[in-house]
Protein backbone atom coordinates (compact mmCIF):
# COMPACT_ATOMS: atom_id res chain seq x y z
CA UNK A 1 0.00 0.00 0.00
CA UNK A 2 1.13 3.54 -0.80
CA UNK A 3 0.10 6.59 1.24
CA UNK A 4 1.10 10.21 0.54
CA UNK A 5 -0.02 12.51 3.34
CA UNK A 6 0.73 15.79 5.08
CA UNK A 7 -0.02 14.42 8.58
CA UNK A 8 2.63 12.73 10.68
CA UNK A 9 2.59 8.98 11.35
CA UNK A 10 3.73 6.58 14.05
CA UNK A 11 6.00 3.73 12.91
CA UNK A 12 4.93 1.37 15.71
CA UNK A 13 1.22 1.85 14.99
CA UNK A 14 1.78 1.18 11.30
CA UNK A 15 3.83 -1.97 11.95
CA UNK A 16 1.06 -3.24 14.23
CA UNK A 17 -1.71 -2.51 11.69
CA UNK A 18 0.19 -4.20 8.88
CA UNK A 19 1.31 -7.35 10.67
CA UNK A 20 -1.05 -8.00 13.58
CA UNK A 21 -2.43 -11.53 13.69
CA UNK A 22 -0.92 -12.56 10.38
CA UNK A 23 0.86 -15.78 11.35
CA UNK A 24 2.45 -16.21 7.91
CA UNK A 25 4.85 -13.39 8.74
CA UNK A 26 8.20 -14.37 10.22
CA UNK A 27 10.12 -11.17 9.53
CA UNK A 28 9.16 -7.49 9.58
CA UNK A 29 11.56 -4.74 8.54
CA UNK A 30 10.78 -1.06 8.97
CA UNK A 31 12.70 1.96 7.75
CA UNK A 32 11.84 5.38 9.14
CA UNK A 33 13.45 8.52 7.73
CA UNK A 34 13.58 11.47 10.14
CA UNK A 35 14.40 15.18 9.82
CA UNK A 36 17.91 15.47 11.26
CA UNK A 37 19.69 18.63 12.28
CA UNK A 38 22.65 18.53 9.89
CA UNK A 39 22.62 17.89 6.18
CA UNK A 40 25.87 18.53 4.35
CA UNK A 41 27.21 20.28 7.44
CA UNK A 42 24.75 23.14 8.02
CA UNK A 43 22.33 23.30 10.96
CA UNK A 44 18.71 22.82 9.94
CA UNK A 45 15.67 24.26 11.67
CA UNK A 46 12.87 22.87 9.52
CA UNK A 47 12.27 21.01 6.30
CA UNK A 48 9.55 21.43 3.69
CA UNK A 49 8.74 18.62 1.28
CA UNK A 50 7.21 19.62 -2.05
CA UNK A 51 5.80 16.92 -4.29
CA UNK A 52 3.95 16.30 -7.55
CA UNK A 53 0.43 15.18 -6.56
CA UNK A 54 -0.76 12.40 -8.84
CA UNK A 55 2.64 11.46 -10.22
CA UNK A 56 4.02 10.84 -6.72
CA UNK A 57 1.44 8.15 -5.98
CA UNK A 58 1.94 6.58 -9.43
CA UNK A 59 5.71 6.38 -9.02
CA UNK A 60 5.48 4.95 -5.50
CA UNK A 61 3.02 2.32 -6.70
CA UNK A 62 5.35 1.36 -9.56
CA UNK A 63 8.23 0.98 -7.12
CA UNK A 64 6.12 -1.12 -4.74
CA UNK A 65 4.98 -3.33 -7.64
CA UNK A 66 8.62 -3.91 -8.57
CA UNK A 67 9.41 -4.97 -4.99
CA UNK A 68 6.43 -7.36 -4.89
CA UNK A 69 7.61 -8.94 -8.14
CA UNK A 70 11.21 -9.32 -7.03
CA UNK A 71 10.75 -10.52 -3.43
CA UNK A 72 8.37 -12.82 -1.60
CA UNK A 73 6.47 -10.31 0.55
CA UNK A 74 3.36 -10.89 2.64
CA UNK A 75 2.79 -7.16 3.19
CA UNK A 76 4.35 -3.87 2.19
CA UNK A 77 3.66 -0.24 3.03
CA UNK A 78 5.14 3.06 1.92
CA UNK A 79 4.12 6.31 3.65
CA UNK A 80 5.69 9.56 2.47
CA UNK A 81 4.82 12.94 3.92
CA UNK A 82 4.81 16.37 2.29
CA UNK A 83 4.61 19.88 3.77
CA UNK A 84 6.56 21.48 6.59
CA UNK A 85 8.28 19.34 9.23
CA UNK A 86 10.31 20.02 12.36
CA UNK A 87 13.54 18.43 13.54
CA UNK A 88 13.04 14.83 14.59
CA UNK A 89 9.77 14.47 12.67
CA UNK A 90 9.28 11.35 10.53
CA UNK A 91 9.34 11.96 6.75
CA UNK A 92 9.06 8.52 5.22
CA UNK A 93 8.21 5.00 6.29
CA UNK A 94 8.75 1.70 4.51
CA UNK A 95 7.57 -1.57 6.03
CA UNK A 96 8.07 -5.00 4.49
CA UNK A 97 6.85 -8.30 5.92
CA UNK A 98 7.79 -11.76 4.71
CA UNK A 99 8.17 -15.36 5.81
CA UNK A 100 11.96 -14.87 5.56
CA UNK A 101 14.23 -12.07 6.72
CA UNK A 102 16.32 -11.83 3.54
CA UNK A 103 13.26 -10.87 1.48
CA UNK A 104 12.10 -8.32 4.05
CA UNK A 105 15.55 -6.68 4.38
CA UNK A 106 16.33 -6.54 0.67
CA UNK A 107 12.90 -5.29 -0.36
CA UNK A 108 12.96 -2.50 2.26
CA UNK A 109 16.42 -1.32 1.15
CA UNK A 110 15.33 -1.50 -2.50
CA UNK A 111 12.14 0.50 -1.85
CA UNK A 112 14.11 3.27 -0.13
CA UNK A 113 16.83 3.36 -2.80
CA UNK A 114 14.37 3.62 -5.67
CA UNK A 115 12.07 6.01 -3.85
CA UNK A 116 15.05 8.34 -3.27
CA UNK A 117 15.77 8.66 -6.99
CA UNK A 118 12.34 8.20 -8.60
CA UNK A 119 9.58 9.59 -6.38
CA UNK A 120 8.92 13.27 -7.23
CA UNK A 121 9.63 14.92 -3.87
CA UNK A 122 11.92 17.89 -3.25
CA UNK A 123 13.39 18.99 0.07
CA UNK A 124 13.69 22.64 1.03
CA UNK A 125 15.79 23.19 4.15
CA UNK A 126 15.55 26.25 6.36
CA UNK A 127 18.25 27.10 8.88
CA UNK A 128 18.03 29.14 12.09
CA UNK A 129 18.70 32.43 10.23
CA UNK A 130 15.78 31.77 7.90
CA UNK A 131 17.99 30.92 4.91
CA UNK A 132 16.41 28.46 2.51
CA UNK A 133 18.24 25.82 0.50
CA UNK A 134 16.93 23.29 -2.01
CA UNK A 135 18.65 19.99 -1.21
CA UNK A 136 20.84 18.67 -4.04
CA UNK A 137 20.73 15.22 -5.54
CA UNK A 138 23.36 12.88 -4.00
CA UNK A 139 25.54 10.74 -6.22
CA UNK A 140 25.52 8.04 -3.49
CA UNK A 141 21.72 7.80 -3.88
CA UNK A 142 22.04 7.36 -7.64
CA UNK A 143 24.69 4.66 -7.14
CA UNK A 144 22.53 2.85 -4.56
CA UNK A 145 19.51 2.85 -6.89
CA UNK A 146 21.56 1.61 -9.85
CA UNK A 147 22.79 -1.42 -7.91
CA UNK A 148 19.26 -2.87 -8.12
CA UNK A 149 19.00 -2.47 -11.93
Amino acid sequence: MVIVQEATFDTGTEIKHLTDRNTQIGAVVSFTGLVRDFNDGSAIQSLTLEHYPGMTEKELEKIETQALERWDLTESLIIHRYGKMDLGDPIVLVITASAHRKDAFEAAAFLMDWLKTKAPFWKLEENASGNQNWVSERSSDIDAAEEWE
Binding site: G54, M55, W122, R138
Partner: protein
Protein backbone atom coordinates in the same frame (compact mmCIF):
# COMPACT_ATOMS: atom_id res chain seq x y z
CA UNK B 1 -1.72 21.89 -22.41
CA UNK B 2 -0.78 22.23 -18.76
CA UNK B 3 2.82 22.91 -17.77
CA UNK B 4 3.97 22.37 -14.17
CA UNK B 5 7.16 23.57 -12.47
CA UNK B 6 8.47 22.29 -9.16
CA UNK B 7 11.03 23.14 -6.47
CA UNK B 8 13.72 25.71 -7.42
CA UNK B 9 12.42 25.83 -10.97
CA UNK B 10 9.01 26.93 -9.67
CA UNK B 11 10.66 29.45 -7.31
CA UNK B 12 12.94 30.82 -10.05
CA UNK B 13 10.13 31.16 -12.61
CA UNK B 14 7.71 32.47 -9.97
CA UNK B 15 5.10 30.09 -11.38
CA UNK B 16 3.84 26.64 -10.32
CA UNK B 17 1.54 25.97 -13.24
CA UNK B 18 0.32 27.45 -16.49
CA UNK B 19 -1.98 26.42 -19.32
CA UNK B 20 -0.77 27.16 -22.83
CA UNK B 21 -2.03 26.64 -26.35
CA UNK B 22 0.81 25.07 -28.30
CA UNK B 23 2.03 27.29 -31.16
CA UNK B 24 1.80 25.63 -34.60
CA UNK B 25 5.54 25.09 -34.93
CA UNK B 26 5.95 23.44 -31.52
CA UNK B 27 5.61 19.73 -32.25
CA UNK B 28 7.86 17.99 -29.78
CA UNK B 29 9.50 18.38 -26.38
CA UNK B 30 12.66 19.99 -27.78
CA UNK B 31 10.56 22.55 -29.65
CA UNK B 32 8.74 23.34 -26.41
CA UNK B 33 11.95 23.85 -24.45
CA UNK B 34 13.25 26.20 -27.18
CA UNK B 35 9.95 28.07 -27.15
CA UNK B 36 10.05 28.42 -23.33
CA UNK B 37 13.67 29.65 -23.44
CA UNK B 38 12.74 32.33 -25.97
CA UNK B 39 10.06 33.74 -23.68
CA UNK B 40 12.23 35.77 -21.32
CA UNK B 41 15.66 36.00 -19.71
CA UNK B 42 14.26 34.27 -16.61
CA UNK B 43 13.03 31.30 -18.66
CA UNK B 44 16.24 31.28 -20.70
CA UNK B 45 18.33 31.08 -17.51
CA UNK B 46 16.10 28.46 -15.86
CA UNK B 47 16.32 26.15 -18.88
CA UNK B 48 20.00 26.79 -19.66
CA UNK B 49 21.31 23.52 -18.18
CA UNK B 50 18.99 20.63 -19.02
CA UNK B 51 21.26 18.23 -17.06
CA UNK B 52 19.68 19.51 -13.85
CA UNK B 53 16.10 19.31 -15.13
CA UNK B 54 13.92 16.22 -15.19
CA UNK B 55 10.83 15.99 -17.41
CA UNK B 56 7.56 14.11 -17.00
CA UNK B 57 5.02 13.88 -19.83
CA UNK B 58 1.57 12.97 -18.56
CA UNK B 59 3.20 11.99 -15.26
CA UNK B 60 5.72 9.60 -16.82
CA UNK B 61 9.45 10.32 -16.90
CA UNK B 62 10.87 10.98 -20.37
CA UNK B 63 14.54 11.34 -21.26
CA UNK B 64 14.22 11.43 -25.06
CA UNK B 65 12.52 13.92 -27.33
CA UNK B 66 8.82 13.01 -27.72
CA UNK B 67 5.96 14.39 -29.86
CA UNK B 68 3.48 16.54 -27.96
CA UNK B 69 0.33 15.63 -29.88
CA UNK B 70 -2.36 14.53 -27.42
CA UNK B 71 -0.25 15.36 -24.36
CA UNK B 72 -2.22 16.96 -21.52
CA UNK B 73 0.44 17.71 -18.91
CA UNK B 74 4.17 18.35 -18.93
CA UNK B 75 6.21 18.86 -15.77
CA UNK B 76 9.73 20.26 -15.42
CA UNK B 77 11.58 19.78 -12.13
CA UNK B 78 15.01 19.29 -10.54
CA UNK B 79 16.34 15.82 -9.67
CA UNK B 80 14.19 14.44 -6.86
CA UNK B 81 15.39 14.55 -3.25
CA UNK B 82 12.69 12.89 -1.15
CA UNK B 83 12.91 9.94 1.19
Amino acid sequence: MKILYFAWLRAQLGMAEETISLPEDVNNLHDLIDWLRARSDVFYAAFSDMDVIRIAVDQEYVTENVPLKGVREIAFFPPVTGG
